[in-house]
């Protein structure tokens, strides 16, 4: 048995997921729209051919692809399929990492009577048969190599790269920016040293790479050379931060509406804190403005807490720092850090408040029993439209257990 790393990436996942429940969409130019219905967040391969890009506004996309079909996103359905894929991949390996909603790494033990290439093809066929989703599967010596080689085989590819000569041949044609973790800024640092392709990076001195790209870059360099720097992680490592937020469903100029969004994000953040059984000691409120740079306010809590009144007070202070009067806000994020895990010790600054704790418990119980947001702060009433839409109950960040989006 050869030990390789397996990697699977569902092709155009959101649009493929729509075609699973509506097979007549298969082969058509389909664009899945984001939370506001204004931007394309995923598109099928036939729509890609028209040059429609991820993040492109619908008014530009429909000029490029007038026959495109635009679909509202449904993360509850995408999660169902994502978990189904995870379960099916797990039939091939006991050690599977839920990397993102549509990507999985696994310890790719190759059965004695199969070649790695046959195994990759078998996984691909199995996923399509059991979930209806097209997936590109790659096997290689490390996760970084497997992910890079999968990209070269998309869509619906199956590839196994075992020997160094084959690796060299493929890496020579892949720009360094294709590596997850090497953004344009890192590429600019590499450029003067003649490092443009993944093969250039692999052949560079490890010392130089570490100097230019720190330890993270050095780990990538090791992986490119066939040494495993990151193991397969079968469980999500504990979060260092938890964040909730996003777009404000339009442009917000008045403080009351902004305050309503703040309250909504505090309630969403508390849900997440309570799920992970952590309490933050620092809260940051970040607001993005249409005509200005983003601004942020940071508040340190005297005692870590997940209580609504305490976090809302802190968030209000944060918003006051981040608020730019007369400016148009477009996005808001609440980021909780310095997460502490229980048991929590009471202190002089953290007196138990029986009434508030009972209220929080009732609120949580009702929402668990009757559905999310059945009981919520009245400050969020301004956005009834938003709450009445069941699609807004479940967002991509609500899909737990994966490492990234």
């Amino acid at each position: 048995m050869t030990a390789l790393v397996g990697f699977g990436d569902a092709d155009s996942f959101y649009s493929s997921a729509e075609a699973v429940r509506r097979p007549w969409l298969a082969g058509l130019p389909v664009g899945v729209l984001g939370n506001q219905g204004a931007c394309v967040i995923a598109r099928s391969y036939p729509m890609k051919k028209f040059g429609v890009k991820v993040g492109e506004p619908i008014w530009d996309a429909k000029k490029k692809c007038p026959d495109g079909i635009y679909v509202k996103r449904d993360f509850r359905w995408y999660e169902t399929l994502s978990r189904r894929m995870l379960a099916e991949v797990s039939t091939f390996s006991p050690r599977v990492e839920y990397y993102s909603i549509d990507e999985f790494f696994w310890e790719g033990h190759i059965p004695g009577d199969h070649t790695p290439q046959q195994t990759a093809e078998a996984v691909r066929a199995h996923i399509q048969r059991t979930t209806g989703l097209p997936m590109t599967v790659a096997y290689a010596r490390t996760r970084t190599l497997a992910k890079l080689f999968a990209d070269t085989a998309k869509p619906f590819g199956a590839v196994a790269v075992e020997d160094s000569a084959h690796e060299v041949e493929l890496l020579a044609n892949i720009p360094v920016t294709e590596i997850a973790g090497i953004a344009r800024r890192s590429a600019i640092k590499l450029e003067p040293h003649g490092i443009r392709t993944c093969l250039d990076l692999r052949n560079a001195s490890g010392l130089l790479v570490q100097r230019l790209l720190t330890v993270t870059g050095h780990d990538i360099w090791r992986e490119l050379n066939g040494y495993r720097a990151t193991p397969i992680r079968t469980a999500r490592t504990p979060h260092k931060m938890l964040a909730r937020g996003g777009s404000l469903a339009g442009r917000v100029t008045d403080a009351f509406t902004l305050y309503g969004w703040l309250v909504r994000n505090v309630e969403r953040l508390i849900e997440e804190l309570q799920f992970h059984e952590v309490r933050p000691s620092t809260l940051m409120v970040s607001v993005s403005y249409f005509e200005d740079n983003s601004a942020a306010g940071v508040v340190h809590l005297s005692v870590p807490s997940d209580r609504f009144d305490i976090l809302l007070d802190a968030a209000k202070h944060g918003l006051r720092q981040a608020w730019r009067s007369g400016r148009t806000a477009t996005h808001m994020h609440l980021i909780a850090s310095g997460l502490r895990r229980g048991p929590w010790q009471q202190s002089l600054f953290d007196p138990p408040d029986v009434k508030l704790e009972a209220l929080a418990r009732v609120k949580r119980d009702i929402n668990e029993l009757y559905g999310r947001w059945k009981v919520r702060s009245a400050a969020t009433l301004f956005a009834n439209d938003w709450y009445e839409d069941p699609a807004n109950e479940h967002e991509v960040c609500d899909i737990r257990g994966k490492f990234c989006f």
């Binding site: 082969g27 058509l28 429909k62 635009y70």
Partner: protein, 170 residues
């Protein structure tokens, strides 16, 4: 009071919206296609044949499911002086307020796979709601509308109204 006067008492929104729907060719029975000469309305979208029902087409028709049967019914009125409201769409609130109080009406489902507004083809899961009004010329169907959600407005260049979807929220 004649019908035209009666309708003028209602603030009818005659702005065009959802100006076309599309239905997969396979969903329409052959006899219906032949009877209404729908062959010229067949379009290919990336290899898939669909029949488009567009507001500008003559005759202006919409498919309607009534009593378990699929039939084609004239869509709205393009005459401002006729006995029916002008346009192909009526606000469902106006219907509730008695727009067709003196007429025989029936709420129906307009089956569709896709709807079209301001250049955007959007997915329709089951269909959209319509109202069939009996006039002296026979039945006429209108698409029922309601104020657009923020999502729909963004999708369709700020259209203020949207069709009433069946078991679907956009």
């Amino acid at each position: 009071m004649c019908d035209a006067d009666r309708f003028s008492n209602f603030k009818l929104r005659t702005r065009e919206m959802c100006t076309a729907i599309a239905l997969a060719r396979s969903e329409l029975p052959c006899e219906l296609v032949l009877k209404h000469r729908l062959g010229e309305r067949v379009h290919e979208r990336a290899g898939l044949a669909e029949i488009r029902f567009q507001w500008w087409q003559v005759p202006t028709l919409l498919p309607v499911r009534r009593d378990g049967r699929l039939e084609l019914v004239p869509w709205g009125s393009k005459s401002r002086r006729g006995p029916l409201p002008y346009g192909g769409w009526v606000d469902r609130e106006l219907v509730a307020d008695g727009l067709f109080a003196n007429s025989c009406t029936e709420e129906v489902v307009i089956p569709a796979n896709l709807g079209h507004q301001k250049g955007t083809w959007f997915l329709i899961v089951e269909g959209i709601k319509g109202i069939v009004v009996q006039s002296r010329f026979g039945p006429v169907v209108y698409i029922l509308t309601e104020p657009a959600s923020n999502y729909y407005r963004n999708m369709t260049e700020q259209s203020p109204m949207m069709p009433v979807f069946v078991n679907q929220v956009i």
